[in-house]
């Protein structure tokens, strides 16, 4: 029996496959599921990355991971068995540091402890903006209130959000993501956050620039319909949604089906390799 393991939102795939030069992969939910310790690799995905690397396709990893500094979570992926290096990975924090420098902003940080080192070199005295990331357990009332007070005291509040995800999956279940707290602060302060990270077009474009490929020559694979697939398609790239990570639980909830999570990695690699 042939089961469709990926979702194709558009037709015209043969042409896409012919011109394909670069692939961008989301990490969490595509390559691995996060959780206790390092989490677990999704079956088949280690081999799938290896095959992509052996091909003539350019490969980058584009993540909204904001719980740990880049070096830390790349090391984690390496421990899980992935062939991946720091300069291939694009998370929001380094992009945010660039924005701060460009605009002379001094941030109040509401981010995970593991991410703080990314902002070591940034002036944080007398803050005139708030940066919010996936702070998880640090999303206490007290901490959110402190960020709120910084914003409400500004004439024109500036809120930079490292992603806008609704939730993600850990091995013990679904967890609220940064977007929820971004929306809370937006509502409290009548401000619109500037999202740094997926699905921001500037964020995707910086990855495409690094690969030296045009949007129509690139394909994004993710488990998030809005931030990965929608964001990529909005930039003119192709988007593939995998039925692992957050997709699976959501679809089970809606259709009460038992979507398979087996060897998805091998299947999407076969699909791309047939170009």
């Amino acid at each position: 029996m042939r089961i469709k393991h990926f979702v194709m939102a558009e037709t015209g795939w043969p042409e896409c496959a012919n011109t394909l030069k670069g692939v961008i992969l989301d990490l969490c939910g595509v390559l691995y599921d996060s959780g206790e310790g390092d989490g677990v690799a999704i079956p088949g995905s280690i081999e799938a990355v290896k095959k992509l690397k052996e091909s003539d396709l350019k490969l980058r990893f584009c993540t909204n991971e904001t719980q740990a500094a880049r070096e830390k979570f790349v090391a984690k992926l390496q421990r899980l068995g992935f062939d991946i290096s720091v300069n291939e990975v694009f998370p929001p924090a380094p992009a945010a540091v660039g924005v701060l420098r460009e605009r002379g902003l001094r941030p109040h940080l509401l981010v995970h402890d593991g991410l703080l080192s990314e902002f070591d070199a940034v002036d944080k005295t007398n803050p005139n903006c708030v940066i919010i990331g996936d702070a998880a357990e640090k999303f206490s009332y007290q901490n959110l209130n402190e960020a709120f007070r910084v914003l409400i005291s500004q004439e024109k509040p500036v809120l930079l959000s490292l992603g806008q995800g609704r939730y993600y999956k850990e091995t013990d279940g679904l967890k609220l993501d940064v977007g929820v707290y971004m929306k809370a602060l937006e509502y409290a302060c009548d401000v619109k956050a500037e999202v740094i990270g997926k699905p921001s077009p500037t964020f995707f474009q910086s990855v495409l620039n690094d690969m030296g490929v045009q949007p129509h020559e690139a394909l994004m694979i993710g488990d998030d319909l809005v931030n990965d697939v929608g964001g990529a398609q909005h930039c003119g790239m192709k988007g593939v949604q995998v039925r692992t990570g957050k997709y699976r639980l959501a679809i089970q909830r809606i259709h009460n089906t038992n979507s398979s999570n087996s060897i998805l990695g091998q299947i999407w690699v076969k699909f791309i390799m047939n170009h």
């Binding site: 640090k138 206490s140 709120f148 939730y167 609220l176 929820v180 929306k183 809370a184 509502y187 909830r253």
Partner: protein, 240 residues
């Protein structure tokens, strides 16, 4: 609370008053508020205080009873007694009020998972923030909004600024919206909500008020004044 001597011939029959930020901030009264309240009570007008303790909470309770929901109650301990007798075992609904102690990551995750699995989200009210002695502090509105975003659902709001909240309060007093005025420190939820329900709204510049708040609603408040005593003076001079 009801003052006596409702006079049928008056144009204005009822004054609804927000408490926190309008009459007091935590345990401190707004200067002159007590005197002003006494003067208002001596006039021929019904006075009713609008705070979740009295009305939004009971509205939430009757909704729960009607739908036979078993709620996860994210409300302050002092509000729990309003839900005495309601079955909270194996909860299948989420009720969010002003509850800083409950707005932590773990509890919100629990609420989120319940809503994602189909539990309705009920908001006591959606205030953005409120005034504490040490400054402004987040109200339930931001957390309700966050949960709505996470689950792609819409909360049922039983309190301000919902129109039914105001009309219910007035029908309890036996008067129509055109015969009533609301005094509060929240431009959108107190004043805008009341005016949307057909009442007059008076915005006071105490509590959570910040410069320019009166321009955040359309139409603008019937009156914006320094504090509760000025609002009472205006009512006594011009509306009775």
């Amino acid at each position: 609370m009801l003052a006596s001597n409702m006079a049928g011939r008056r144009a204005l029959k009822a004054v609804l008053i927000d408490l926190s930020g309008t009459l007091h901030i935590e345990d401190t009264a707004v200067p002159g508020a007590q005197d002003a309240l006494n003067r208002l009570r001596q006039a021929s007008v019904a006075v009713k205080f609008e705070e979740e303790i009295f009305t939004s909470l009971s509205a939430a309770r009757s909704l729960l009873e009607r739908k036979q929901h078993r709620p996860l109650l994210l409300v302050e301990d002092s509000a729990l007694e309003d839900f005495t007798g309601i079955d909270t075992s194996e909860p299948n609904a989420v009720v969010v009020g002003l509850a800083p102690d409950h707005f932590n990551y773990q509890t919100l995750n629990r609420a989120f998972r319940m809503i994602l699995n189909g539990a309705p989200l009920i908001a006591i009210h959606k205030a953005r923030y409120y005034k504490r002695k040490d400054g402004l502090a987040l109200g339930p509105g931001p957390f309700v909004t966050g949960l709505e975003y996470a689950t792609d659902c819409k909360a049922t709001v039983v309190g301000k600024p919902e129109k039914t909240f105001f009309t219910q309060a007035l029908s309890d007093l036996g008067c129509s919206p055109s015969e009533a005025v609301m005094i509060g420190d929240d431009a959108r939820d107190d004043v805008g909500g009341a005016q949307n329900a057909g009442m007059l709204g008076i915005l006071v510049k105490t509590g959570k008020y910040r410069d320019g708040d009166e321009t955040k609603i359309d139409p603008q408040p019937h009156l914006t004044c320094n504090s509760f005593p000025d609002a009472v003076e205006h009512i006594l001079q011009n509306l009775l």
